[in-house]
């Protein structure tokens, strides 16, 4: 079938304004939107820039806005858009570097801010640090995060408050707050407890809706809020 695309184009060094360019490619219903993008680039227009690598939703490179919704181009199939023109745009909120390629450095810095590594004060045992299956299960969903930034791009609060740490950073904070092996739980919770930390989230659920790995992001943020209320504020 023929698929019509309308793609955001912008080279900030050359172009005054972004523009949209139209392309038509033939594609099979079971193919990915990323396959169409590649076909456009390889056969029609090599000037188009976007990131990609694994092409099956693990590396997190190709987050973009597809007909208004943040998603991975490698996880969306042609048949889902059979009767429509597909508009591809960079992730909202992020600074555009070229076409669909955005600046992710500030996004990664936001995650670093909450120290996304295990902090232990005691020496490790000779073998593994024990952890119950129940404790491991607490982080089972958040360890699926692939840092694709779809949640942060989709978050309406980010649009209003660019200082908000954003959903992805909170998912990573959750991962270590609730890792039973971590020995800085209280400190981590205190670090989250500020105006642009965990509190700006007002349950739009957009992050949860778009997450390509089906992480219940909003629920995690609410759990963090509750943990701060019950653990930090009480003490």
């Amino acid at each position: 079938m023929d698929m019509k695309f309308r793609i955001f184009r912008f080279d900030p060094e050359v172009d005054g304004e972004p523009r949209y360019q139209e392309y038509t490619v033939s594609a099979e219903p079971g193919e990915r939107i990323l396959d169409c993008l590649n076909r456009i680039k390889w056969e029609q227009d090599g000037t188009l820039s976007y990131r990609m690598s694994c092409a099956h939703g693990v590396c997190g490179s190709d987050g973009m806005r597809i007909n208004g919704a943040c998603a991975l181009a490698c996880q969306k199939l042609v048949k889902e858009y059979a009767d429509t023109k597909v508009t591809l745009e960079p992730l909202p909120f992020f600074r555009v570097l070229k076409d669909l390629t955005v600046d992710v450095n500030a996004f990664l810095d936001g995650i670093m801010y909450f120290r996304p590594w295990l902090i232990t004060l005691s020496d490790p045992p000779e073998k593994e640090r024990p952890q119950s299956q129940e404790d491991a299960k607490r982080v089972e969903e958040v360890i699926r995060c692939i840092l694709c930034a779809c949640c942060t791009g989709a978050c309406p609060v980010m649009q209003e408050n660019p200082y908000y740490v954003g959903p992805a950073a909170l998912v990573w904070a959750f991962r270590h707050v609730f890792d039973s092996r971590d020995e800085q739980k209280i400190e981590r919770l205190k670090q989250l407890d500020f105006a642009d930390g965990v509190w700006p989230c007002v349950n739009h659920f957009e992050c949860t809706r778009v997450c390509p790995k089906k992480i219940p992001v909003t629920k995690c943020i609410n759990t963090l809020k509750r943990e701060i209320e019950t653990t930090v504020k009480r003490s």
Binding site: D11, E13, V14, G30, R32, K41, W42, E43, D45, G46, T47, S49, Y50, R51, M52, S53, C54, A55, H56, G57, V58, C59, G60, S61, L77, L97, K98, D99, T101, V104, L108, M112, R115, P116, W117, L118, T120, P124, E126, K127, E128, R129, P130, Q131, S132, Q133, D135, A136, V139, E140, I143, R144, I146, L147, R175, H176, D179, R181, D182, K213
Partner: protein, 573 residues
């Protein structure tokens, strides 16, 4: 620009990151990656990492070593396999201490599961040796090592693409890299380079590999005169999603999944009576290909079924949730109730840069090339021999990545700062200019597709003198056509058009070494199966292949296999 660091590590997968952690703090090291580090292909590893922890049932490193050697069809250098199996336990505990969220046993230990080719009692029955975090083991280890590196203050250059290795008087003085964000070409002056650039599955059409897996480091080392080893050994993973090649982890069979042909028969019982669906990957892939050739593919077509219906929803959700979601997304199939169409997919390269047990890259005379090191899939330590076992790759990366880092620290004192040759980036600059100046030439996309289809047709699971000779003629014809390639994008920012065109030179060169090495091995061993020479021939071919670049193409020579404990014997599962 000219950047200067004592040590440059190229590649931010597990091997590069683990090596970086070893050298960080001890010296001025920097890490270059063509993608953002967390996009590295190590992250796509699903099933787990092997170590004889014995958490689920008794296990011993000797069994692990034996399985690795047998898995490699006795081409594995046994001193290397011994290091791997012995160090595995420490390496996995180290990862756990860093925070890797492994699944757990009811006693709170790291959970382990069965995996292809891993056995107890030297082949008696399958053993639970694979430590795992659901089916995203590679991804969580990658994230853990990356953030641990950041925490240690590691200097990282993301989206810097290595395009040349700079040698002077047979030693490394630096490398040339292209910065995607600006289009600038930089020279990185250093005393030591560690190549950890991964594999090159993109030589083939159907592959589980990422777009980034174009063998940059392997080809650039080869172009600089470094011999490549055992290039004929290409692993086809038995279970790629049909048509896409997306990996369905061996863990699916480790957890009880079964392969079925058109009549519904669990056919692996005929090919590997003892461990059936958990035989080594080359054995299972050949079995699938044979079923298809003999007309027992599904509806006579070129795929078989992977049956996970007996696992139940709970097990799928807890242990195989990513692959469950892949088949749902790409095929609309519910793995709990429906059968999954699968076919072999190019997955891993056993061959690569000839590397010694300490991570030093070796020249044809088996002497270390001063300043050059390699680790991970781009290297060939002769660890995986003719076929790698599942879960031995992640282990290889952290064990030998760490060792390479330690070796560099040890060697650094003896490695002086040598002046680079004049204009070390000139070759790369000229090449880029000529690509950008050419008008109306051939599109790289067409040549690359032709290469991938040709290699898949002629140089996959079954090979013959005839198919390989045809492949060699075709690859050389494509190399000629490549000289006329032109690109659309003349810009400087994020010009991936340019980089894909440059990568194609690497893929073509590596394809040539694979084909020539395969022509040279007139026997069948591990992943290299010759229809015209269907038996293993230890008398003539129990040796490693070396391929050295010459003006007339790769020149082959060989070196002996290191055998310490396990005498080669017929390989059955």
């Amino acid at each position: 620009m000219i950047f200067k660091h004592d040590v440059i590590i190229v590649g931010a997968g597990l091997a590069g990151l683990r090596a970086a952690m070893e050298v960080a703090g001890g010296t001025d090291a920097a890490l270059l990656s063509k993608v953002y580090p967390t996009r590295s292909h190590s992250g796509a590893a699903q099933g787990g990492i092997a170590a004889a922890l014995g958490n689920e049932e008794p296990d011993f490193w000797e069994w692990h070593m034996y399985d690795t050697v047998k898995g490699g069809d006795y081409l594995t250098d046994q001193d290397v396999a011994e290091i791997l199996a012995k160090d595995a336990v420490r390496a996995v505990y180290e990862l756990e201490h860093m925070g890797v969220p492994f699944n757990r046993t009811p006693e709170g230990k790291i959970a382990q599961r069965a995996f292809g080719g891993h056995t107890r009692g030297f082949g008696e029955a399958a053993v639970k040796r694979a430590c795992y975090a659901a089916d995203r083991s590679g991804r969580v280890i990658l994230d853990t090592l990356y953030f641990e590196g950041v925490r240690k203050g590691l200097k990282i250059y993301p989206e810097f693409h290595m395009l040349d290795l700079v040698m002077k008087d047979n030693r490394v003085v630096g490398l040339v890299a292209y910065e995607l964000a600006t289009g600038e070409v930089h020279f990185f002056h250093c005393r030591a380079v560690l190549l950890a650039t991964g594999g090159y599955g993109k030589v083939f059409k159907t592959t589980s590999n990422a777009f980034a897996s174009t063998g940059d480091g392997v080809y650039l080392a080869y172009r600089a005169g470094i011999p490549l080893e055992d290039m004929e050994f290409v692993q086809f993973h038995p279970t790629g999603i049909y048509g896409l090649g997306v990996l369905i982890s061996e863990a699916a069979r480790g957890e009880g999944g079964v392969l079925r042909n058109h009549p519904g028969e669990s056919f692996m019982e005929r090919y590997a009576p003892t461990i059936k669906d958990l035989a080594a990957r080359d054995v299972v892939s050949r079995a699938i290909a044979t079923e298809i050739l003999e007309g027992r593919g599904i509806n006579g077509r070129d795929y078989v079924h992977l049956d996970l219906t007996q696992l139940g929803e709970k097990k799928l959700a807890e242990k195989l949730s990513d692959i469950t979601s892949f088949v749902k997304i790409y095929l609309g199939i519910d793995a709990a109730t429906e059968l999954i169409p699968v076919a072999p997919t190019c997955h891993y390269m056993m061959g690569g840069i000839q590397t010694g047990i300490h991570g030093r890259v070796l020249d044809l005379g088996q002497n270390p090339v001063p300043g050059l090191y390699a680790a991970g899939e781009c290297s060939c330590l002769s660890l995986h021999g003719a076929n790698r076992l599942g879960c031995n790759s992640l282990l290889d990366l952290v064990v030998f990545g760490r060792r390479a880092g330690a070796t560099i620290l040890e060697d650094l004192e003896g490695l002086s700062w040598d002046d680079p040759p004049a204009h070390p980036d000139k070759g790369v600059q000229d090449r880029i200019r000529s690509l950008k100046e050419k008008r109306g030439g051939e599109k790289y996309g067409r040549i690359r597709s032709a290469l991938q289809e040709m290699m898949t047709r002629n140089c996959s699971i079954f090979r013959t003198e005839q198919s390989l000779t045809r492949a060699l003629t075709e690859v050389r014809s494509l190399q000629e056509q490549y000289k006329t390639v032109a690109i659309d994008n003349l810009g400087v920012r994020y010009n991936t058009d340019l980089l894909e065109a440059l990568e194609l030179e690497f893929l073509l060169g590596l394809a040539e070494t694979i084909v020539v090495s395969a022509l040279g091995r007139k026997e069948s061993r591990g992943a290299h199966f010759r229809d015209d020479y269907p038996e293993r021939d230890d008398t003539n071919y129990l040796k490693h292949t070396l391929a050295q670049k010459t003006d007339d193409g790769p020149r082959l020579s060989s070196k002996p296999v290191t055998i310490t404990i396990f005498v080669p014997k017929p390989r059955t599962y």
